[in-house]
């Protein structure tokens, strides 16, 4: 089965991001395909490259990146939700005259059209919300 994940919860604020990551691993371990994780609402904070949790806690941001590297899962971030919350890549930082950027590949800023497409393309789109 083809799966997609929609994540609406910020890392560490609620169980949403943890659960989504465990679910992602379980889907792949179960022999299914996970096309993409779409980060929306406060879920965009999962794409923050500056995230530095205590060492004895799971590093959720790195966890997503590993998922991409190991299994090619796309990491799509809603651009409108991200910009509002101070998350932007180099291109957007230049466009908005900011000194640094807070999102880097493999996370990619994209539009809601991508989410609609993901939902219609996959057999299951599973939402994780706070």
């Amino acid at each position: 089965m083809r799966y997609g994940i929609l994540l609406l919860g910020a890392p560490y604020s609620s169980q949403a991001a943890h659960s989504a990551q465990r679910f992602a691993r379980a889907v792949i371990a179960g022999g299914h395909q996970l096309d993409s994780v779409f980060f929306y609402h406060d879920g965009v904070y999962n794409a923050s490259r500056l995230s530095a949790p205590p060492l004895d806690e799971p590093h959720l941001v790195d966890g997503w990146i590993e998922l991409h590297r190991e299994h090619g899962v796309q990491l799509d971030v809603c651009i409108a939700a991200a910009l509002r919350r101070g998350l932007m890549d180099q291109e957007q930082a230049e466009r908005h005259g900011k000194q640094g950027c807070s999102v880097e590949p493999p996370f990619q800023l994209t539009g809601l059209g991508q989410l609609v497409d993901l939902g219609l393309r996959c057999d299951r789109l599973v939402t994780f919300a706070p």
Binding site: Y40, H41, A80, A81, G111, L112, G113, L115, V116, D117, G119, L120, L125, T127
Partner: protein, 134 residues
Amino acid sequence: MNSDHINGVSSDPLPPAGDLLVIISHGPHGSSLLREGLDMALVAAAFGRRVSLLFMGQGCWALHPGQGAGALGQKGAHATLAMLEMYDIDQLMVEAAGFEQLGLEVADCQLPISVVDNVTVQAVVTSHQLVMNF
């Protein structure tokens, strides 16, 4: 998918069908969920998808006219609601129970809508390929 069954009238035995159903169940102020739900509907419609909207519970307040900016300085959603027709989103439904609870009436609503009962809500959910909750 019952893609051939497109009907906007609630009394019709066939529920509206389509690619995407956006369910709004949060009130218009206090969070960005209404705006995000409407954005989702407009984007999908702009990409040529057939979109329906269902307002439930507190989400029914979105249809009540005369709302200005909220306490958080969020813009009212009326301008966006008015755009729905331009994007060919004409399947607008409200859940009867939510409507009744809030003391709202169809005549009060900003847009033409169909009132649907619980049974129809279930049918509407299954007649859309993708359902998004806001």
